[in-house]
Symmetry: C2
Subunit: 338 residues, 2 copies
Amino acid sequence: MARNLIRVLEGESLSPPPVWLMRQAGRYLPEYRETRAKAGGFLDLCYDPDFATEVTLQPIRRFGFDAAILFSDILVIPDALGRDLAFVAGEGPKLRPLQVEEIERLDPSLAETHLAPVIATVGRLRSELPDETTLIGFCGAPWTVATYMIAGHGTPDQAPARLFGYRHPQAMEKLLFLLAEMSADYLIRQLQAGADCVQIFDSWAGVLDEASFEAFAVAPVRRMVEKVRAAIPGAKIIGFPKGAGALLSTYRQKTGVDAVGLDWSVPWSQAKAMQTDGAVQGNLDPLRLIAGGRALEEGVDRILEALGDGPLIFNLGHGITPDAPIAHVEALLKRIRG
Amino acid sequence: MARNLIRVLEGESLSPPPVWLMRQAGRYLPEYRETRAKAGGFLDLCYDPDFATEVTLQPIRRFGFDAAILFSDILVIPDALGRDLAFVAGEGPKLRPLQVEEIERLDPSLAETHLAPVIATVGRLRSELPDETTLIGFCGAPWTVATYMIAGHGTPDQAPARLFGYRHPQAMEKLLFLLAEMSADYLIRQLQAGADCVQIFDSWAGVLDEASFEAFAVAPVRRMVEKVRAAIPGAKIIGFPKGAGALLSTYRQKTGVDAVGLDWSVPWSQAKAMQTDGAVQGNLDPLRLIAGGRALEEGVDRILEALGDGPLIFNLGHGITPDAPIAHVEALLKRIRG
């Protein structure tokens, strides 16, 4: 019997729907903060199978979510390329900004060794998770990873990468396809190590115009899906092109992902129409979870009413934030599961 | 004979389409920087009819855009409510953050006097502009204005206002409808003073989920449109709910605006479909203008190919930025006008 999240990815409608939360292993949990303090830096947590396994399991133990997601970060790929990744407290990630002439010299040959601890974590997780819990592997989409590599840090509108793409379209494609190959290999290894499915996070897909979306968001992910499925036929893949709006259906058709993650701005009527092509995942505004009470209940109810009788994986429309009260997460689960 | 932008708002298709750029009176122009230096602060510029008229006319003189847009700011409405608006260099606008219990006491009675210099500017502009140039008045949409009033400054995701709306939905509606009434009065006066049409900027509409979009973005703007048209039958109104994605068509139908402004992420196929209901305005990525060359040409060509034979007002998908080269603005106009 397949795990319930996988059944939904195969097109089944389950009531109640399976539920997990993006960034569910995180700072809103006291047990996470405790482990994090022991581990030292954020990257120490990501690359230590003991610590990474522990924090991945914490929200499963506490809440019994239907899926666990590997604890890691989308920027381990540029880290494996030697881009001097560091997480600075209060400032987010920093990397050595990528210059156009460096793209030819990027060397993915160390990635397998560099990422071995993450793959070890996946194996540990599959053996330690309850049998019914789905294990989700993940990586960043090439475009989103590239936005950080080019700017050297997070930006409000990804202007450095967008401008880079307009000025150096060939170099940008080269970079994105190198990242696509590496990321596909990384996902294949996660699936071989025990992940039941994988999610590709394209957090900054929404800043692209239609032509750039095709070239920078769709094409590299299509390549990844092809490569993963060539190695592992039938591999289940969730794409999450945040902010893709009216392009979400196109994205699923053209990339071949099984399910599409929806941010909270996606209207429920659009999401409902998308369920005729397969599963959708989302899309509660994380701030409804912070507010709790009526705002939380109404948000959950609207999603269940609109999408509950189709293939749905309940989730937030973006990651849970550190200020989310644990009691509200419990209320969310109670509202969904009854 | 109506001015060409108004003809497009009435549903006509013109070739080449009329063109103007959001924030076209701005820091990328040396003559603007010079006037700004004379005026002192940004608000001194907004409230001085001599200076405001001068900077509004500058891009018309230099480029011959089809429309001039009143030089002002969306935050003159909270300024008229005594919210201590100030523009801090390098930090953007600051206001006294609005507390929920203050909403009852907000007093719009001083707005007419406070905004009189802006209305005087509109009158001056209509008499000084070339006869063929359309004059666009504007205001912020209640939701976007409220996001600044509640946070007291700009924020990346408008979390303070979203949370306020979830926690205090009735107070939020009260605030939005007070802003809607004031803003409608303000637009009516602009139209009476000589504006040919008006635009309502909802820069932060895209952060709302579907239920909040209906309550906070659609409903107050519908009220504004009704009030403006009751005073001025047939008044032409452009709505620009940035980031509204798949909800753009709904927005036009439910608010009753004549034309919808499109940010650069709106796909051209969606925009094309929207032209069956009326005019669209947009939507070149402002960074294509910065990049120039092929990126600029391809962006312009894609928009003209997709939308050029329907009712189109050519514009950027967001405001022009201070680093835009003047030569690229000239190249843009040449590409559109041939």
